[in-house]
Amino acid sequence: MLKIENLHATVDGKPILKGLSLSIAPGEIHAIMGPNGSGKSTLSYVLAGREGYEVTEGSVTFMGQDLLAMEPEERAVAGVFLAFQAPVELPGVGNANFLRTALNAVRRAKGEAEVDAIQFLKLARARMKVLNMPDDMLKRPVNVGFSGGEKKRNEMLQMAMLSPKLALLDETDSGLDIDALKMVADTVNSLRGPDFSALVITHYQRLLNHIVPDHVHVLSAGRIIRSGGPELAQELEATGYAASVAAA
């Protein structure tokens, strides 16, 4: 599904990722943990195609395609979805209109029939019920006046509606209460299947109690310094990153 090889990336000329390699097979969930500033968000932005993140070496292959050669919207319609650590607010853009536009852009690109306004509302309301989101969040401008938790729910709504092949969750759990955390886990778990993979960036073991990962990696100073199974997350929770960083 995803193969990252020897990835080097700079921001403003400053090297952030320094030779990162990672393979995710179809159906797998990988977790990435690591200290603040280690390059976790940078990795997710490089994969999603954000401007200003320059790849200086290495390659990323997604479903057999050169991901780095694709525009952000091409990556999205190919199935990459980034749940942002800090989602933007869009005054003047209605959430429902935005979501329908995105859904149809993805459907069009896949050669699927577009959904009309009525079909869209049906789909969205069903999803929102599961996410425990009030209906009026569709009417409001995207993320404007949303609480931190509501923004994250909105990210999960987008993910669920767009049904990606590869979800990148960048600290989606940070600042969430237990119920919201469970909602994030439920949404990811509901998409789980042979054609769905995820890269879950988190600082906390507690999310991984609900989304049990196949592999856990520790990112430090732009490289993966340790990898293991779910038990690695528990170890890190108990001992912190320092020991791993020192050993690397």
């Binding site: 999603a48 195609g49 954000r50 401007e51 200003g52 525009e71 952000p72 919207e73 990556r75 999205a76 319609v77 979805f81 980034l82 942002f84 989602p87 933007v88 869009l90 005054p91 003047g92 853009v93 209605g94 429902a96 209109n97 935005f98 979501l99 329908r100 536009t101 995105a102 149809n104 852009a105 993805v106 690109a109 306004a117 869209f120 509302l121 969205a124 569709l138 401008p141 987008q158 767009l162």
Partner: protein, 436 residues
């Protein structure tokens, strides 16, 4: 500047000399006096240069250098009018066309200015100020026709459309319609005006509006300026509002190669209100100017202005907004915001807000911003699969939303959003946001 020649102020003054005996109302002393006074004012001012403060950012050199002809009486008629169920008055090349207009069964009167000129003594010229605005002087000197709307006391006039078309002509025509709109006590009207013309035709459309809103009356004035891209549109609106009256102006300034939307509003009675909103959509090669002057001349009045300018390609936009609060105008509540969005590094905006306050108990503020499309917002939309052009269109629409939503009248709002979509499509961009 005033030398007789084939171009510039001199050419227009010469035209007035030549047509003097044949212009509408030539036999009426008061009309002649008004034209002579306007000619005098125009002779004194000419086409203002950029040394004139009010024209600092808009250069009329191209107007000054064009050879204009007289509008020919239309033989056009490949004209296709958009469908509407509203009553409408149609002007072609500045002249009222009864044959194209539908004005039956109205509870108020709509007439051709040329036809009823003898009845307009004391009304025509009551609000315009040719001595101060050169283009109003040019208009006063050479007007031939216009619309005269009178809504009697207490009458709710509903929607009236004013359609102005330019046709293709070999010699660039210049026309100067004078429109008079009067709402008597407690009357109301929504006037939706559309000005358009062929893409490649050069012409000068120089309309002047004189608007009088009496006590507790309300005029919603929506203007969709979509002139051809080689046209000059130089428009001056004068409005005065009496006690408890309201004047709402919304202008879409989107067409023409050079367009000036100049509005003078005087709030003359207590508790009068004015909203001025507008959107300027300026594409490669265009220059669009909105200049407002709001005169708070009575206490307890409120005014709100929201202007948004979007600039693409090599284009130039101007916003100038002056709020004058006279000593008597205590408890004035005035607000003005103008914002520009630059879609290209070659686009430029000049903005000049100006507050002049002589009363001490007032709330008056203004603000201005200039920015580009936000890269993070753009990336967010693209990361959801929305193509770049469509993502830009969505963010431009969002930028305009505030100005559009400030428009109270739904008919005007709808006409406007159709016009904005049309403009955007002409920029080669397919589709903004889909409505759910």
């Amino acid at each position: 500047m005033t030398a007789v020649g084939t171009t510039g102020a001199g050419a227009f003054l010469a035209r007035h000399e030549g047509l003097r005996a044949r212009l509408p109302g030539a036999h009426l002393p008061w009309v002649t006096a008004l034209r002579e006074a306007s000619a005098e004012a125009f002779r004194a001012q000419g086409f203002p240069t950029r040394r004139v403060e009010a024209w600092k950012y808009t250069d009329l050199a191209a107007v000054n250098g064009t050879v204009f002809g007289e509008p020919l009486t239309g033989v056009d008629d490949a004209l296709t009018l958009p469908a509407t169920t509203n009553p409408r008055a149609v002007f072609v090349d500045g002249r009222f066309r009864a044959d194209l207009s539908t004005l039956e069964g109205l509870a108020y009167t709509v007439e051709s200015l040329a036809a009823v000129l003898p009845t307009l003594e004391g009304r025509l010229g009551a609000v315009a100020r040719p001595a101060e605005q050169a283009l109003a002087a040019l208009n006063g000197m050479l007007f031939e026709d216009g619309l005269v709307v009178t809504v009697p006391a207490g009458v709710a006039g509903g929607v009236l459309e004013l359609l102005s078309f330019a046709t293709v002509s070999e010699r660039a025509p210049a026309y100067h319609p004078r429109h008079l709109v009067q709402l008597e006590d407690g009357a109301s009207l929504t006037l939706i005006e559309t000005a358009s013309g062929p893409a490649a035709a050069r012409y000068l459309h120089n309309p002047v509006f004189e608007i009088e809103v009496a006590a507790k009356a309300r005029l919603n004035h929506g203007r969709l300026q979509q002139e051809g891209l080689d046209a000059f549109f130089l428009s001056t609106v004068y409005a005065r509002v009496a006690e408890g009256g309201a004047y709402d102006n919304f202008t879409l300034n989107a067409g023409g190669r050079l367009a000036r939307n100049e509005i003078h509003v005087a709030l003359q009675g207590p508790k009068a209100e004015c909203h001025m909103n507008g959107v300027q959509l300026v594409a490669d090669g265009q220059h669009a100017d909105t200049t407002t002057a709001l005169d708070h001349a009575a206490p307890d009045c409120a005014s709100r202005q929201t202007y948004k300018t979007v600039l693409a390609g090599r284009s130039r936009g101007v916003f100038q907004g002056k709020i004058l609060v006279r000593k008597i105008a205590q408890k004035t509540d005035g607000y003005q915001m103008n914002q520009a969005l630059l879609l290209s590094p070659e686009a430029e905006i000049d903005s000049k807000p100006q507050l002049e306050i002589y009363a001490d108990d007032v709330k008056c503020s203004h603000g201005a911003t200039v920015g580009e499309l936000d890269a993070d917002n753009l990336f967010f939309l693209r990361s959801r699969g929305i193509p770049l052009d469509q993502a830009k269109a969505i963010l431009v629409e969002a930028f305009l939303t505030e100005a559009v939503e400030a428009v109270a009248d739904e008919d005007i709002r709808n006409a406007l959003s159709t016009a904005v979509t049309g403009w955007w499509q002409r920029q080669g961009v397919a589709g903004g946001i889909e409505v759910a």
